[in-house]
């Protein structure tokens, strides 16, 4: 049964990876502004939108 401790060690290691990821996310300021990233993704519609053809100004 003591093999279970090996498994626990492995799973804890995985959990620690996630904890580290969380700490990194907090440190990089991702929790400070939850509004602008949500909007940023809406604007990224790619190059097709880059310049609308406009008869009046071309």
């Amino acid at each position: 049964m003591s093999v279970i401790f090996l498994l626990i060690g492995a799973s804890t290691l995985v959990a620690v990876v996630f904890l580290t990821a969380f700490l990194w996310a907090v440190r990089s300021g991702q929790y400070e502004d939850d509004r602008s990233p949500a909007v940023r993704i809406l604007g990224d519609r790619g190059a097709s939108n880059e310049r609308r053809t406009d008869p009046k100004n071309s």
Binding site: L19, L23, V26, Y31, D33, R35, S36, V39, G43
Partner: protein
């Protein structure tokens, strides 16, 4: 009445109702050429997604009146403030842009590079209303960048704090997130190790496995004790040192008891310990703290006076002008103040014609006319052509600074303290728990001394007021968020509690009951026909005087060709409209007998073709919804009115049939009035605006500042209410009272859980399983109860009809 009905067309760009300057282009309506210009600019650059992002942006293409002029950004000291780094021609600056408020704003500001190729990258930090721009400075000067932002309606502010000198931030601190993460991580893992216990200890036939799990739990509880929960110990210790009981003391006691008892049990192999309850407790408490911090509004309630004033003014130097810091001004200096700029120091008008609007100080928007030689007090805003002034006193001696310091001085201590509910409860609770623990100890001492330690620790564990500590942040936090969504922003949760106690509401008149820039325009005399309206309107358009501007805005009709316009200072304006001489201005200027003047009513006389034609009267309008606001408040509290004006017209006085109406109040008298009410036991809410109310606002138990724009002065107050949301005030009072009752009910619930747990503990039967179930269950029940309760209590607030 000459007020014509307006056609309700809203501007495609800013969403305002299209008025006098209505223009059409591209099959779209715009309220002014500025908005059309921005639309065309965006259209050419393919940025019209701006309009498709859901919310209406509603940022008018006009620059906020107090946005600093672009040339100021050429100054080295201003540049120094804003620039974060500048290397190899690439510069990064951070601007404060309070106008941004929606998805479209963020989107446009982050796509600046499409408008201006010199911009490399722009990033918004919405929570701070900040925009960081990286750009090539050799292609575009800082000033050019500011001009671009102004052009699209997002002129940056230049407040006292720069990009570097940012003060302490409100909101959720990073360490709280980290503590929360660590506590959650440990909680989850410890719970997994406790599962065998939950399912019955004999699931694991191997004894060493159970022991191993216990030691692992102990190991995982260490970060919780040493890192995640330190704030509670710190706060409890701080309370002990000042001999004050606070809610964190029983909590710290509970945490400590949990940890010591569990460690003891594990080391002596008595039982598995309560590590899961410990980690869970700390995690839930931190969630409560997080929610409390999260509910804070991203508004600054304490701004320094300097943040409202221009940093730099233009000083006359020989023939030219040089920029100089406000604090560096010396008596005798000549300064130039342009349209819409604040006069930063007390000064004497030397050249030009002053129309000084003192709304910043008094709330009274009607400009006062000043002729050369007159004194102009600091804080007045010039409306009209540029004026030149001679500095009379240095900044620190100015009238404005004194008013401000008076107000700041009143901050210290004058306000009667109101005991916080949570502290009162905590005091009784702590005493009760200690008594129960002592009683249990005495009981078991006589029977089975070995049971004393487990029973006493069990009592302390189960009595830990977790639910108690959670109910208030959630109940008051929800209340704050609900009110904030409708335009009433509270400083912190404590204000909700103060709100519940309010039994007297005092209103200021000017700027609070009456709107800043809203008049009822009426015409005395034979009504004007369409041609005459055209003539008056055409001429009024040429005047910088605010009253003429109001006449121009209120009338509807075509515009004619105007020639030979002359504005005579302090008298009026004359000119030929389609060949007919027209005059607008004072009675004497228009050749009419001067009439009896009512207080608070301004008049504009009209003469057409040399003959006096009639007189416009502009009466300041009581804000829409004020009857409802004052009437509703009257149902719940005594209502009084304070005003600096000498008289009050019947419409306003009629709103206060039972309360006192005090006229001619100076700022100290206003504060004294509040103090005398408090002296007779009243809990007072003051609703006001302007610096002259500042003393009264701080003296009152709940000071509410009415704000028409983010740039308006909001002296240290407990709450800020948007002018449009004033009708909400009675509802807010009601909600505050309900929230308090909900908290009381939730305290009852959490006490029930505690009593139930205590009966287990005293009997010596508090197994880890019971503790592990009881603790989260009580917290979840209480949080669910208060959330639902507040949500239901706020139903009237959520109904769509606001007025």
């Amino acid at each position: 009445m000459a007020t014509a009905t307006r056609t309700e067309t809203s501007c495609y760009h800013c969403g305002d109702t299209c008025g006098a300057d209505h223009v059409r282009a591209d099959d779209k309506d715009f309220c002014c050429p500025g908005c059309r210009f921005v639309y065309e600019l965006l259209d050419q650059s393919g940025l019209c997604d701006y309009y498709d992002l859901g919310d209406r942006p509603q940022v008018k293409a006009e620059v906020a009146a107090d946005a600093p002029r672009p040339e100021l950004f050429d100054l080295p000291e201003v540049r120094e403030r804003l620039v974060e780094y500048s290397e190899g021609g690439i510069t990064r600056v951070t601007f404060h842009i309070p106008q941004m408020h929606c998805s479209s704003c963020i989107w446009l500001l982050e796509n600046l590079h499409r408008l201006e190729p010199a911009v490399l990258r722009s990033r918004v930090r919405f929570s701070d209303k900040e925009l960081s721009i990286t750009f090539r400075e050799e292609q575009l000067a800082l000033r050019g960048l500011v001009e671009l932002l102004r052009k699209i309606g997002y002129g940056p502010q230049l407040t006292g704090e720069g990009a570097r000198g940012r003060g302490t931030k409100r909101g959720v601190p990073r360490t709280l997130y980290i503590r929360l993460g660590v506590a959650g991580f440990c909680f989850g893992n410890i719970m997994l190790f406790s599962f065998p216990e939950y399912l019955g200890a004999d699931v694991t036939s191997d004894g060493s496995l159970a022991r191993g799990f216990q030691f692992l739990s102990l190991a995982f509880s260490l970060p919780v004790m040493l890192f995640a929960s330190t704030d509670f110990f710190r706060s409890a210790w701080a309370g002990l040192r000042t001999r004050q009981v606070n809610i964190d003391q029983p909590i710290a006691l509970g945490i400590l008891a949990l940890f010591l008892r569990s460690t003891f049990d594990v080391l002596l192999d008595i039982g598995p310990g309560y590590f899961d309850s410990l980690a869970g407790l700390v995690f839930f408490l931190l969630v409560g703290r997080w929610y409390q911090a999260y509910s804070y509004q991203a508004l600054s309630f304490d701004r320094a006076l300097e943040a409202f004033l221009p940093l730099v003014v233009l000083r006359r130097k020989g023939e030219g002008e040089e920029p100089v810091g406000v604090t560096d001004l010396a008596p005798g200096d000549r300064i130039v103040v342009r349209d819409q700029e604040l006069v930063p120091v007390d000064a004497i008008l030397r050249e030009g014609e002053g129309h000084i609007d003192n709304s910043f100080i008094t709330g009274e928007p009607m400009p006062v006319h000043k002729a050369p030689g007159d004194t102009v007090k600091a804080g007045g805003r010039q409306r009209g052509a540029a004026i030149e002034l001679e500095v009379l006193r240095v900044f620190n001696d100015s009238h404005l600074k004194r008013l401000w310091e008076e107000h700041a001085g009143s901050l210290t201590g004058a306000r009667p303290s109101m005991p916080r509910l949570i502290d009162t409860v905590a005091r009784r609770f702590t005493v009760g728990v200690l008594l129960v623990a002592l009683g249990a100890a005495l009981y078991w001492w006589g029977r089975d001394a070995a049971q004393v330690w487990p029973v006493v620790t069990a009592v302390l564990i189960v009595a830990c007021p977790c639910a108690l500590a959670l109910s208030m942040p959630f109940a008051y936090g929800h209340t704050m968020r609900l009110l904030g969504r409708r335009g009433l922003f509270l400083r912190d949760a404590e204000v909700v509690e103060r709100l519940a106690h309010v039994d007297t509401v005092v209103f200021d008149k000017t700027g609070t009951l009456t709107a800043r820039e809203s008049y009822d325009l009426a015409f005395e005399g034979r009504p004007l026909d369409a041609r005459e309206v055209m003539q008056v309107r055409s001429l009024a358009r040429n005047s910088a005087h605010p009253l003429s501007a109001e006449v121009y805005r209120s009338l509807q009709g075509d515009l004619g060709r105007v020639s030979g316009v002359e504005e005579e200072s302090g008298a009026g304006i004359r000119g030929d409209v389609e060949g007919v001489p027209v005059r607008l201005g004072s009675a004497a200027f228009c050749g009419a007998p001067s009439a009896h003047r009512e207080p608070g009513v301004a008049t504009v006389d009209v003469a057409i073709g040399g003959l006096h034609r009639g007189r416009f009267t502009l009466r300041k309008r009581v804000r829409a919804g004020m009857e409802k606001a004052v009437g509703g408040a009257r149902g719940m509290a005594a209502t009084h009115l304070l005003t600096g004006d000498a008289t009050v017209d019947a419409e306003v006085a009629g709103l206060f049939p039972e309360g006192e109406v005090v006229t001619g109040c100076t700022p100290p008298q206003k504060a004294a009035f509040i103090r005398s009410k408090q002296g007779s036991g009243a809990r007072v809410m003051m609703v006001g605006d302007g610096l002259n109310d500042a003393g009264a606002l701080t003296q009152s138990d709940v000071g509410v500042t009415v704000s028409e724009s983010s740039a308006a002065l909001t002296p240290a107050s407990d709450a800020i209410i948007e002018a449009g949301a004033l009708g909400l005030l009675p509802e807010a009072l009601r909600l505050g009272r309900r929230a308090r009752r909900i908290v009381f009910a939730s305290l009852g619930i959490s006490l029930l859980y505690n009593v139930g747990g205590l009966s287990f503990a005293i009997a010596g039967k508090l197994t880890p399983l019971v503790a592990a179930i009881l603790m989260p269950l009580s917290s979840v029940t209480v949080v669910a109860f208060v959330s639902l309760g507040v949500w239901l209590a706020a139903r009237p607030l959520r109904s769509p009809d606001r007025n």
